[in-house]
Point group: C2
Chain length 637, copies 2
């Protein structure tokens, strides 16, 4: 094994020295160390944080940016009802046995496996056979077996035990209890009798709100938040399928006895992508061609069932063609996952993709492949890629009645409420003339309590009277034709208020003037129409900008150029590129500044250089406008 | 107010249209919406995520990168004992009153304030005085008062109530109960009598591990993890003070009735910096000169105590000189916070720094200034900048006995344990000769159970016997002079295993060959010695690289160049720049590649261009080595 681990020139790989280095240089450290530590909880130090941040950054560029995935950041606190529906409250559990004398707690499946394996070894020793050196499997970290006793077993019993071990992942609590009974399995350290297995749910429980009547959990995965937002994301994506959502954040699992260092911890960073695809389209993927020649090491289900572990190096195109990998979408993501792992430095000689056997899949999965990495502990699962079919959307839909399907209207019951005043500005100006702005400001400044009171006045008397110092006698009457006062939902964001304004010429559209460094999306790419001639230019521009780490959004809808820009003013997109017939002729494009709506025109290189400079905060629009030729184009609604 | 809000040209600011936009375009959305929602919990959609990510990125560059802060990422799950010691279990609470009839729960201070303010207004109305339009304060979101009754109050009572209101933040639960009694304060909606105030701790409680015997909380702030790691960070920083740690992550507060949208939520992203400074040095800051001319709008404590709110525009240099801001370190950070806020788009006309009054400071603070932003809801606290003195370090030190002080040895009791075999390689080679590597590999591959068993053999019999197929008769004896087997701590990381190796020529030092895109720190800057001539070059290089967003680390210790490079090989730093006497003459530097240890020599621009290209993954070292002149320098230990 040691020989296998050496890719870089130099001395043979030595695990102990790597571990010592990582602790010494504070890549990570046990959390609450000065309080004695808590198993399964680690803090990351400066080098560990920087490493994580860089990997997250590459993950975002490789997946989210490249494929225009819709990133969401959902809460970790999750009400009971949601996880009850998803199946986690009932099924996200391991079986544990307690030793009533010592208070020790064992994971039942691991204990049975460990004890029976030790007996098989003892049998071999007793028969004078060579005891195989076992690869330690850190996914199943064991309580130490004190020592292996050389006791000979019947041939029939050996075969029986081997069969039990082959199916160990398949037993429920009752069956594990029977096995413990049948094979007289005890606490390996003390020989003490154990209580029967009980289910231990791996979610951390808490209570939300002051009245303790809303039980909740810390999320065990980030996927549920993505499913719950499905309908909104679909709408955000203008009702177009397929699309992917993505989420990265901490998840929590209350492991029974976490002892495998960073591999099995109770709080961990998790990156998940949910790709929503129409099953009727055969799960095709439009970029599958780009990856079809990527070679993967595949360890399929049948090989494993035959008790073997040899892998086949297969082009993913062939694997999908032959049905080994079920469909293009699954195949596309397997290839992209491998590309990502290579990017962050994984050794191409130490990776394989292993298909789950039927009995080891999670309760939601229809098919699943794990990217596994070879380490000094053996092969370790690193990325799971599962076809969850429509399991999650169906159960949430059934439970809530919310239509988590394509092309259904969405309801959005907001919980935050407020009294809001709306003015009929067409009538308001003529009525108050020069005092209009002052009266408007006084109304805007009314307190919530007063608004509520005034709404009653308005209903009863058909008008309200408010104090406006400096206008008439200081009291101003506003009739109900000019104002409505309603209780509405409200939310608020200080930074966005500083940056929000509405163009004079366009009643309906607001602008969020984020600095280019801060803006969520940097560049809108707008072909004049959906004409095929424009498509290669759209691709070149977005590829080239993504290469520079700059997020783009393409709007090739049928709306007018002006309308498409307006929509993106709302998202705060600072820059826009128009592709027109001139572009097709001479490879020049116009670049538009959101705030001034000024445009310049230049060749591809000049345009991308200008964008990069603006997005990195090196230049301002005025600098660009000064050095590139101005373009006086039409921006019509 | 509406007039004040308009900075961008265009229509007057309209809050409702901004809110509608942000919900419609999925910047954020209520969490668990299809389940009816949970107040105080919001999800962020694609635009909200991108915005957050960009702001976090700028925060890291502005603070962490610029000042070489030590970032840590600590767990959110926190054991009871830690937060008991920090004071949060006892003091991090609000007072709440329950209406036993309706089950409604009120935050006691907000309720008293709201009802008494309504009475003062009713009094004014009854006296025919103008009712002041109040600025709603969303930090104290109120239950709606049904309506204000115009009831005249005695002058003495008015004065008394005004005094109560001025001190509202100062009352404890018992006093709030007395006020409720005295002024006969009831449920404003129903007139129902309320139960006396009880303390409600704002932390979410849970239980860690399967045995329910370790109560814990979700952290209410990220600071505690930074304090607990103080000693390790100090060591990481080579025992040099001052230094700063930084942390960004989710924190949790179980608000009693969160109703102010994104301003008061139960789960939120929090960025905290702890700057550790030696109080005996007068809290000087070595970069204070760089900010001393930054102008801030300061609202000091005395002005507020006099019931006023006028601010003074003051250069921070002057403010520290006059003692208005206590010391350089505090002043430096106030200026840097303002610069950060401007960078992300905050309007310079709508920011002020407000000093806390003595009675409103948190239990740990010695002095505190808030950066406040003007919004349509009034002034909102956005960043707190507190001098916590040594409160936290002292209490944790007292509780645990861990020496959280400078220049004390550190203990690190790891919880993860494993049996490890160490070989005496000097004796091992001569004994096994050509079979050495094979025997070593067999030992490396021994299972944990076997290692434990063998450790007993070694003790009893002074040797171990292991199976090594192909060597002699397949059994190999290893005497205790050649091997030790010990139970030690262990942790593990798959990616790092793939990238770890040890140079042939240097026994002690490992190398982590992270790709430059992934490496935690990108460039090590090494002046030949600490000679004053080199200092300006160090500064120019690190400033210029930071400008490009590239993280650097300076090592100007007395160790040899080779040693300093070795230390950073361990951290995986891919590039190194040496500043030597030649640099002082002609402004050229050598650039070293970690993996090959090759060096090239070139001028400043060429060097930074090469680094940027490597760090962004555009070129490989072989490209750089091909185009820049090779440097055959001494790299001696």
């Amino acid at each position: 094994m040691a020989g296998d681990m050496t890719t870089f020139k130099g001395k043979p790989f030595d695990r102990a020295s790597l571990e010592s280095l990582m602790k010494r240089r504070l890549f990570y450290t046990p959390a609450f160390d000065i309080y004695g530590g808590v198993s399964g909880l680690y803090d990351y130090g400066p080098a560990g944080c920087a490493l994580t941040n860089n990997i997250v950054d590459i993950w975002r560029k490789h997946f989210v940016l490249k494929e225009n995935m819709l990133e969401v950041d959902c809460t970790m606190l999750t009400p009971h009802e949601v996880l009850k529906t998803s199946g986690h409250v009932d099924k996200f559990a391991d079986w544990m046995c307690k030793d009533p004398k010592t208070g020790e707690i064992f994971r039942a499946d691991h204990l049975v496996e460990e004890v029976l394996e030790a007996r098989l070894k003892g049998n071999k020793e007793a028969r004078g056979q060579k005891v195989e050196v076992e690869e330690e499997d850190p996914k199943k970290k064991k309580k130490k077996v004190k020592n292996i006793q050389a006791i000979k077993l019947d041939d029939a019993l050996v075969q029986e035990i081997e069969e039990v071990l082959a199916k160990i992942d398949n037993y429920g609590g009752e069956e594990l209890g029977q096995l413990i009974e049948k094979y007289d399995i005890k606490n390996p350290a003390t020989g003490g009798k154990l209580e029967p297995p009980v289910a231990f749910n791996l979610m951390f429980q808490t209570s939300i709100g002051p009245s303790s009547n809303m039980p909740g959990y810390l999320r065990p995965e980030t996927a549920q938040g993505q499913f719950l937002n499905f309908q909104k994301l679909l709408e955000f994506n203008q009702q177009q399928m397929p699309f992917a959502s993505a989420s990265i954040g901490k998840s929590f699992r209350n492991e029974i006895s976490p002892r495998s260092g960073l591999l099995r911890v109770r709080e961990f960073l998790m990156a998940e992508i949910e790709h929503f695809v129409d099953p009727e389209g055969g799960k095709k993927h439009h970029r599958f061609d780009e990856v079809k020649d990527v070679e993967l090491e595949l360890l399929n289900r049948d090989v494993q069932l035959a008790g073997k572990t040899h892998v086949e190096t297969t082009k993913i195109g062939k694997a999908v063609e032959s049905g080994l990998v079920d469909n293009e979408t699954l195949g596309y993501f397997l290839a992209r996952i491998q590309q990502f792992l290579f990017k962050i430095g994984v050794d191409p000689k130490k990776i394989r993709f292993r298909q789950h056997m039927a009995n080891e899949m999670a309760h939601y999965a229809a098919d699943c492949w794990d990217a596994e990495l070879l380490t000094s502990f053996g092969w370790i699962e690193c990325v799971g890629c599962a076809d969850r079919s429509a399991y999650d959307l169906s159960v949430h839909m059934k439970k809530t009645g919310a239509p988590l399907v394509v092309r259904e209207p969405r309801k959005e019951p907001l919980k935050v409420e407020e009294w809001q005043c709306d003015l009929d500005k067409k009538k308001f100006g003529p009525k108050f003339k020069k005092d209009g702005k002052t009266v408007e400001a006084a109304i805007e400044a009314l307190s919530q309590a007063l608004r509520e009171k005034l709404s009653l006045d308005l209903e009863k008397e058909g008008k309200i009277v408010i104090d406006v110092p400096g206008v008439g006698d200081g009291k101003v009457e506003v009739p109900k034709e000019l104002i409505t006062i309603e209780k509405r939902t409200r939310v608020e964001n200080a930074l966005c208020e500083h940056l929000y304004w509405t163009r004079e010429q366009d009643e309906a559209r607001g602008v969020l003037s984020f600095p280019p460094t801060v803006a969520p999306t940097k560049v809108l790419i707008v072909p004049l129409s959906s004409h095929a001639d424009f498509k290669p230019f759209v691709r070149t521009l977005s590829d080239q900008l993504q290469e520079l780490g700059i997020s783009t959004r393409v709007d090739d809808s049928g709306a007018s150029i002006g309308k498409r820009y307006s929509r993106n003013d709302e998202l705060g997109t600072p820059l826009g590129i128009t592709i027109d017939f001139q572009s097709v002729k001479d490879n020049t494009f116009t670049l538009r500044d959101r705030d001034s709506t000024e445009q310049v025109r230049a060749g591809l290189d000049e345009i991308t250089k200008a964008i990069s400079s603006l997005v990195n905060g090196k230049e301002k629009w005025s600098d660009i406008a000064a050095r590139l030729p101005k373009f006086e184009g039409q921006e019509v609604d």
